[in-house]
């Protein structure tokens, strides 16, 4: 099934929520649910998506949905799946949608457990590269150089000094049934990966870049542009892992436009040429590994 703007279901399952204008996370959530449909049990931990979608009596999900504890997304999915199986339910999906902090930091233990058990669940991490719901604090997925409220940029320190945690390969190291990286900037690629996760028996993990205009310091009409540019510059990659091998889905076209990508965002406005040089070096190192070890295959 190739999803595109023409054949995507009109039905909205995430509707009337309170997300900020230009929110990438809510777009990823809304689109994923269009692919998976109404017979989806969704667990969402503490974070933006639960904060904007679950304020009684205004409940915004048209499908079954539940807030989990911050660390408990994956373990709750396990329980939902086990309960549904025990009750003999048929024709349903179990989905978790968690942010970067909820996935790479506090939720990592539970996620590792679920993948280890190969529970038949889909886990989507919408990555906006910081704890945005609490007001922009550094997470394990905040990139090098980014300014957050807990990694300020000044004379001594130029923002976050750690590289982004490599969630995709951490997950793949479990020999997961299916894992993919995506971005809301390439929506058809993302939808195709959600479809593939839907078809996969066992655990699927999709890591989707979903910019946050508030946290990134971009205007609310630049979300998709930024989500596209991060891939075009090679600072993020579109890839899949299945059958024990890594597959690259897209080669970057504008690797030379890193400055443009970075300096158009307030969180990177302070970067010096030296900082940008470090970011490019990190990127190039990554691409050497990708080209050496991964197969190239356009997403089907």
């Amino acid at each position: 099934m190739q999803w595109n703007a023409k054949n995507l279901p009109k039905e909205e399952l995430f509707y009337g929520h309170k997300a900020c204008a230009g929110c990438g996370g809510s777009l990823a959530t809304r689109m994923a649910l269009k692919v998976l449909g109404e017979r989806t049990f969704l667990a969402v931990p503490a974070g933006c998506m639960s904060a904007v979608g679950f304020v009684y009596p205004q409940l915004c999900f048209g499908n079954n949905a539940i807030i989990s504890t911050f660390a408990g997304t994956a373990s709750m999915l396990t329980g939902i799946q086990a309960g549904a199986k025990a009750l003999g339910l048929k024709d349903y999906h179990v989905l978790g949608i968690a942010g970067d902090g909820g996935t790479a930091d506090i939720g990592l233990q539970g996620l590792s457990g679920a993948i280890d058990r190969n529970d038949d669940v889909i886990y989507i991490c919408y990555d906006n590269e910081a704890y945005m719901n609490t007001g922009i604090q550094k997470s394990g997925l905040t990139p090098f150089g980014a300014k957050t409220t807990t990694t300020p940029a000044g004379k001594q320190i130029h923002g976050n000094q750690k590289e982004k945690k490599n969630m995709f390969e951490i997950v793949a190291a479990h020999h997961i049934a299916y894992a993919a990286t995506a971005t809301i900037g390439y929506m058809e690629d993302f939808l195709g990966k959600v479809e593939r996760a839907k078809q996969t028996k066992g655990t699927s993990y999709i890591h989707v870049i979903a910019p946050c205009p508030t946290g990134w310091g971009i205007s609310s009409n630049q979300t998709i542009h930024a989500a596209r540019a991060i891939v075009d510059t090679g600072l993020w990659y579109l890839a899949e892992y299945y059958d024990g091998t890594f597959h690259l889905n897209r080669k970057p076209k504008k690797k030379n436009q890193v400055e443009e990508y970075l300096l158009s965002q307030k969180r990177f406005a302070h970067l010096t040429p030296e900082d940008i040089h470090i970011i490019k070096e990190q990127r190039d190192e990554k691409w050497k590994q990708i080209e050496r070890e991964w197969e190239y295959e356009r997403v089907k």
């Binding site: 048209g62 079954n64 807030i67 660390a71 408990g72 329980g79 799946q81 086990a82």
Partner: protein, 391 residues
């Protein structure tokens, strides 16, 4: 036909859970609870129990997984102890506030620091405010019976609150006794299948575990509180039903022993109760009018029942294996509050002992009654069997 076997408290509890037919079990080991999940795993293997048995990677996940399973309407079980209970603490009010009728066994064990694997009740008592019903059992037989009855209470339409059943670590969990196991037919006759509207349903999608602002938040909690209070009556109802089907009864939230004319009454919970009963017998034989109140439920707290049962007693002692540091024993606080609410003025002592698994002897229990009789102690809070006294 029921069956009689020689079982430890953990094994007996697992038998009770088997009879309740949980559809999902989330299992994580911790001493001295581990035997429970081992036994359940064997039962699943032998097919004497049909259940989704999940090997979770932490206690936080154990309860989070149980909440997930309960949220689609499955009967669910998990078990823990001590540090494990504290590690899953975040999920306790979550399960309770979501009104998920999960049953959990807790093996009462001391909490670190200092590290100690032996029994006291500081773990569960520290979680009294988490919104769970808390039951304490005296022996392996009661452990089995309450494993089964806990589902009846938790799933009762007027309650719909999770239940934690507490067994004294090692003293109960690892001690062997003759235990009567009801037949599966008896268990089925006692416990109806779990049916609920409080679940996510594919035919009628629902959003659960939501946020509630200051405008309505309190109403949700007061409803929960009232449901907890209802459990006092539902326990009686469960006890009567169980008595009819299985032939064993324990009474309600408190059990009394010679309290009608008692002058000196000791309040206990858990496994120490059996010995306290023997002490009451000995004292009665020597002419001391001793009596005993066994707390079977600590949340909801049967304060009025305690005051009523005391009759004309001259002094009361609360014996407990916990201490709220910088205050007193927590059960003592609850008991004294009940006296005050009922306008009952009575000398009230607190006997704190057994911390970190320290043994409490028959002599020490006898001494407690003498202290109630003499009332020479100016200090109402007494420590039992302290090896090193400052001074």
């Amino acid at each position: 036909m029921s069956d009689k076997r020689f079982l430890s408290g953990d094994e007996a509890f697992a038998e009770g859970i088997r009879l309740a037919r949980p559809q999902v079990i989330s299992a994580y080991p911790i001493t001295p609870q581990t035997i429970v999940v081992e036994e359940l795993a064997s039962m699943v293997e032998r097919q004497s129990l049909k259940s989704e048995f999940i090997h979770v990677e932490s206690e936080h996940s154990a309860l989070s997984c149980a909440i997930g399973a309960s949220s689609v309407g499955a009967r669910t079980f998990t078990a823990t102890s001590s540090q494990g209970l504290l590690y899953m603490a975040e999920c306790l009010p979550y399960a309770a506030g979501g009104r998920f009728p999960i049953v959990m066994m807790n093996a009462n064990r001391s909490t670190a620091l200092p590290w100690n694997i032996y029994g006291d009740q500081r773990d569960s008592i520290s979680q009294l405010d988490s919104g769970w019903i808390q039951i304490y059992v005296e022996d392996a037989q009661e452990a089995l019976d309450m494993a089964l009855q806990s589902y009846y209470i938790a799933e009762h339409k007027g309650v719909s609150v999770p239940v934690m059943v507490n067994l004294d670590g090692f003293i109960l969990t690892h001690t062997y006794e003759a235990v009567e196991i009801p037949s599966i037919e008896e268990a089925d006759a006692f416990l109806p299948p779990y049916v609920t509207d409080n679940k996510m349903d594919l035919e009628q999608p629902k959003n659960m575990a939501f946020t509630v602002g200051p405008n309505l938040n309190m109403e949700f909690h007061i409803k929960h509180h009232e449901a907890m209070l209802t459990a006092l009556d539902v326990l009686n109802e469960s006890d009567q039903r169980y008595g009819k089907v299985v032939g064993r009864r324990y009474g309600g939230a408190i059990g009394t022993y010679h309290t009608e004319d008692a002058e000196y009454v000791l309040i206990t919970l858990g496994s120490i109760t059996g010995m306290a009963r023997n002490v009451v017998d000995d004292l009665r034989a020597s002419g001391v009018k001793a009596g005993l109140i066994k707390l079977r439920m600590v949340r909801p707290f049967p304060g009025d029942q305690i005051v009523k049962a005391l009759g004309l007693a001259k002094a009361v002692g609360t014996l407990e294996k916990d201490i709220s540091f910088g205050a007193e024993g927590t059960i003592y606080t609850n008991v004294n509050s009940a006296f005050l609410k009922n306008k009952r003025v009575i000398p009230s002592y607190n006997f704190i002992g057994g911390l970190g698994g320290r043994d409490i002897t028959k002599e020490q229990l006898t001494e407690c009654f003498y202290k109630l009789r003499e009332q020479k102690e100016a200090e109402p809070i007494q420590y039992i069997g302290l090896a090193i006294k400052e001074g």
